[in-house]
């Protein structure tokens, strides 16, 4: 059942994400361009979990040794990396080369370790209320899977770990991370770190690897009189047990936070008119399917769970909660949409959000793809209705970027979902024709919306599907790059590497100038080592994982034929000139792409907004 399972183990702590930022700005890609440096231009992409301790919640009872466990990255391999596919789409940063390790904090003894499937964040939304000393109000969620599990002795004495292991007979675990409170602020001791809630549970054979597809209760956004929008809750993913006796909710990622730590704000402290709401509750849509934003007779409301009133609730529970369902509703929960109720200052109850239409929720697994011409990839869309696989669902795709006539990847005719509720999208890379040559940017990034609903214009309709624009399938189609018979440095190699040297100064600051012939010759072995890795290896170069196969082959061919010089080793790179990553004065004032997207440039849910007019007059008791 995923990390929502009652067998879940939850952790709370922080994470380091040292992402480089020069490659956020397309003009920086131009050869020789004066670089625009934003908040962390000298980053190295490292991701690490910091002091993430287990919570006594879920399957972990007080006294269970698991209460003393921590989750970290690998303790015998290089760190995982966080990577954007391209400056043209920074709304799906991926984790690469990452492992997770659960161990006893005191002794370091292993409970379980596994490889994290490459995954991109989703469900980005503006969840941190002002003030924002960290400079970044958005939070996102990563969902992935651990495989190649290695269970250790520390698991044996823990009831929670024993139960988790029993649920993972297929050798896989489901992982969900909530991330928020990330700091852009150089003067902040938490600079480059964010807050993390991490949940582990069994991973079912039928589940997608990098997303939850159970059921989804849509979020609530309130419109203010001045036209601004006030997010009040994000979407809530949930799973109902087969016997209808309980619902497991990922409420945490749907909650606003008052600060970097994850304390919850009070509804009364939200701007008007959102402060008209005094209590939010999750339940079922009342009989008769009353309209959204209508007043509901208190006797008609079917409430199952009131939002927590404890400011520390998120910190102590991690935000995943299991709620018992009265036996009388056991059948209803399998056929009736879930609902979000608001009790208003006026004392009235309003239906403010509901589950997706017909209880259908669909999502593409592994939706970020890199394609060289002729290369193929398959993206699987998983579809469920009221939590069960739905067959025969036909999807529609529409290209939303780029807006020009650049030849897109070939897409095979879409077939409807099979009995397992899965539809496959078969992609084949084609030559995009180097459309971004002016910026010296390889290929083109295509985004395709998908939905099982079709609008009047024949395009995918996201309304009431729980999907947002950010749920598009993202493809970086790369330009062909013929490999020369005998690559020459100035003609074939330097032009490729000079751009990396320009965009990732960390290389020349701390390693060597990777576009310099002498340095490359000296460190030939180190470069061959890094360019020859599997793309899932944390040592893979380039760390951005954006180099086409032809360019890579050209580099490897040239490096392989450079005479080996004495003193070469990866342990032995000499330094280049270094400048400390002092933030420019205006670093914190630069527009923030991710925050902008969270405010509506791609991730905003397609559902009605609770307007100020509707709430008018209901703010008074």
């Amino acid at each position: 059942m995923s990390y929502l399972s009652p067998r879940r183990i939850s952790f709370c702590g922080r994470f380091l994400s040292d992402v480089p930022t020069r490659n956020n700005d397309i003009p920086n890609f131009v050869d020789g361009a004066a670089q625009v440096d934003s908040w962390n231009f000298s980053g190295g992409s490292t991701v690490e979990l910091l002091n993430c301790g287990a919570l006594t919640t879920g399957a972990v009872a007080a006294g269970d040794p698991a209460a003393g466990f921590v989750v970290t990255g690998a303790v015998d391999r290089p760190s995982g990396k966080m990577v954007d596919i391209d400056p043209a789409w920074q709304g799906a940063s991926e984790l690469w080369g990452m492992r997770l390790r659960i161990a006893d904090r005191a002794t370091g003894a292993l409970a379980v370790e596994g490889r994290l499937a490459v995954c991109a964040f989703r469900d980005l939304w503006t969840r941190q209320r002002p003030p924002l000393p960290n400079g970044q109000p958005s939070g996102a969620r990563f969902v992935s899977m651990l495989d190649k599990l290695d269970w250790g002795p520390a698991a044996e004495g823990s009831a929670a770990m024993t139960a988790l292991r029993a649920g993972a007979a297929n050798g896989r675990l489901s992982v969900g991370w909530h991330t928020f409170g990330y700091s852009y602020t150089l003067s902040d001791p938490r600079y480059r770190t964010g807050t993390l809630m991490l949940h582990l549970g069994p991973h079912a054979d039928t589940e997608p690897e990098t997303t939850l597809v159970h059921r989804r209760l849509q979020g609530l956004t309130v419109g203010a009189a001045d036209g601004t929008r006030i997010p009040v809750t994000g979407a809530i993913d949930f799973a109902v047990t087969d016997d209808g006796s309980a619902v497991h909710l990922d409420l945490g990622h749907a909650l606003l936070v008052a600060d970097v730590d994850g304390h919850l704000p009070r509804l009364a402290d939200l701007p008007a008119p959102a402060n008209s709401i005094v209590q939010l509750s999750i339940g079922l849509v009342p009989d008769g399917n009353p309209p959204l934003f209508g007043i509901i007779a208190e006797t008609a409301a079917i409430r199952l769970y009131d939002f927590p009133d404890d400011r520390d609730w998120y910190l102590t529970t991690g935000g995943v909660v299991s709620v018992a369902i009265p036996a009388v509703l056991a059948t209803d929960v399998e056929t009736r949409r879930f609902a979000l109720y608001a009790r208003l200052v006026s004392g009235e109850t309003m239906l403010v959000a509901q589950e997706t239409e017909n209880g259908i929720f669909c999502r593409a697994d592994a939706f970020v793809q890199r394609l060289d011409p002729g290369e193929t990839a398959t993206v699987r869309i998983h579809a469920r209705s009221f939590g069960r696989p739905v067959a025969g669902l036909q999807f529609t795709l529409a290209q939303i970027a780029p807006a020009d006539a650049t030849p897109p990847p070939a897409i095979a005719a879409l077939m409807p979902t099979d009995a397992a509720g899965v539809a496959e999208i078969m992609l084949t890379g084609t030559d995009p024709g180097n459309p971004r040559r002016a910026f010296n940017l390889d290929g083109q990034v295509f985004r395709f919306l998908y939905s099982h609903k079709v609008g009047p214009d024949g395009r995918p309709d996201l309304t009431d599907t729980g999907l947002a624009g950010g749920d598009a399938i993202i493809v970086h189609a790369r330009d062909p790059h013929p490999v020369p018979d005998v690559p020459e440095f100035e003609r074939d190699v330097r032009p490729i590497l000079a751009q990396y040297a320009q965009l990732y100064p960390i290389m020349s600051e701390h390693l060597f100038d990777i576009a310099d012939f002498e340095a490359l010759s000296t460190h030939r072995q180190a470069m061959l080592f890094a360019f020859g890795r599997s793309i899932e290896d944390p040592n893979y170069m380039p760390v951005t994982r954006d180099m086409s196969a032809g360019r890579m082959a050209t580099l490897v061919k040239w490096l392989s034929n450079v005479p080996l010089r004495r003193g070469t080793s990866v342990a032995g790179p000499g330094p280049g000139p270094v400048t400390m990553a002092a933030a420019p004065e205006n670093a914190e004032k630069r527009p923030d792409f991710k925050a902008a997207m969270a405010r509506g440039a791609g991730h905003e849910p397609h559902q009605p907004v609770l307007s100020a007019e509707i709430l008018e007059g209901r703010g008074d008791a």
Binding site: L16, E48, N539, L564
Partner: protein, 350 residues
């Protein structure tokens, strides 16, 4: 020259089997490793925009110490032992005596200075005087209060040669031979002769030979490289000089202002956890721990993991470069110094 307690040498001489040598080779591995934190600390303290030649010279020595540690592990594995690297007692305490040392040389983790190079680094690598009384003879003398590391290696080499190829009982698949990184300086230890050759290599790359400052590959041995730094001038061939070399090479530039004023012997406990330096210090110690673990896995039968260890070596330098530029904060106030690299075990970064 590094002086060691005679008991270590006695045990080598008294060994009757390969197993009797396991602890002694383990000590040698610890010793080779123990030079890396002080060298790396000094190297990292050199500001990035200056002193690049000195940086590179120290770095070459660090790489060769990694090679020597690898060779030591291969010898121990070859004679049926198991290197213990990821163990709490593997890491020396700084400031302190190096493994087997008698206490007359206290090695700190400090920022680079010419005095540190001359008084500590050169002392660590100093060759034996050729005219010294041969160490093996001194063993019988009642007045001996110390032996030397050169003597220790000489005795170890002699003992393995004495025990012969029968001492090579280890699983050959556990030999770690990363020629991609070390070229022909690394090779499997498959015979007593291989072991003897490897021990000579360790000594000569550190100290040179009695006749020459050059190591077998034609580069200057560690001692002479540090001497060059201390003199701020390269050694060059000079037919007029008694041994054919003099400090007549190019000048080595040193800008004393371009050295970060690092906290000596930095401990994680001396950095506020919530400070930038505290976080970077924790990250450094975590990467260091990962490096130790990766090396352990490498020598525990997974030689291919050496690549991961090299990747971690790069990460360690990177983490160190980031760390040493940050003010050390303790008790909520900046101490006035920068944070130094933290060579501590830590499996939970904070």
């Amino acid at each position: 020259m590094l002086r060691i307690a005679p008991a270590f040498l006695d045990r080598v001489v008294a060994a009757r089997t390969g197993a009797d040598l396991h602890d002694m080779v383990q000590n040698a591995i610890r010793l080779e490793f123990s030079t890396i934190p002080p060298y790396l600390t000094a190297m990292l303290s050199l500001k990035p925009d200056s002193n690049r030649e000195i940086w590179g010279m120290i770095h070459e020595v660090v790489v060769e110490e990694m090679l020597h540690m690898t060779i030591g592990c291969n010898i121990l594995t070859a004679i049926g032992g198991r290197p213990r690297i990821a163990a709490p007692d593997f890491l020396p305490i700084y400031p302190g005596t190096l493994p087997m040392g008698i206490g007359d040389l206290v090695v700190p983790l400090e920022k680079f200075s010419l005095a540190l190079v001359r008084d500590v680094f050169m002392q660590i690598e100093q060759p034996e005087e050729p005219l010294d009384i041969p160490v093996l003879d001194t063993l019988d003398g009642p007045t001996v209060t110390f032996a030397t590391i050169g003597g220790f290696y000489a005795a170890l080499k002699a003992k393995i040669q004495e025990l012969g190829d029968g001492v090579i009982v280890g699983d050959p698949t556990r030999q770690v031979v990363p020629t991609d990184w070390f070229g022909d300086d690394i090779y499997p230890i498959a015979s007593a002769a291989d072991a003897a050759r490897a021990i000579s290599q360790i000594v000569e790359e550190g100290e040179g030979t009695p006749k020459s400052p050059l190591d077998p590959d034609g580069g200057f041995a560690h001692y002479y490289r540090f001497w060059e730094i201390a003199e701020l001038r390269h050694i060059a061939a000079n037919g007029a000089a008694p041994d054919g070399f003099s400090f007549s090479g190019a000048e080595i530039h040193f800008d004393a202002d371009s050295v970060w004023d690092l906290t000596p012997n930095q401990r994680l406990a001396d950095l506020d956890p919530d400070s930038l330096a505290g976080r970077r210090g924790s990250q450094f110690s975590f990467v260091f721990t990962k490096l130790m673990n990766a090396l352990q896995a490498t020598f525990d039968g997974d030689p291919a993991r050496f690549d991961a260890a090299m990747g971690l070596m790069f990460e360690l330098k990177l983490a160190g470069q980031m760390l040493v530029q940050l003010p050390a904060v303790k008790g909520g106030a900046e101490t006035g110094r920068k944070a130094g690299p933290v060579f501590e075990y830590s499996w939970v970064p904070r």
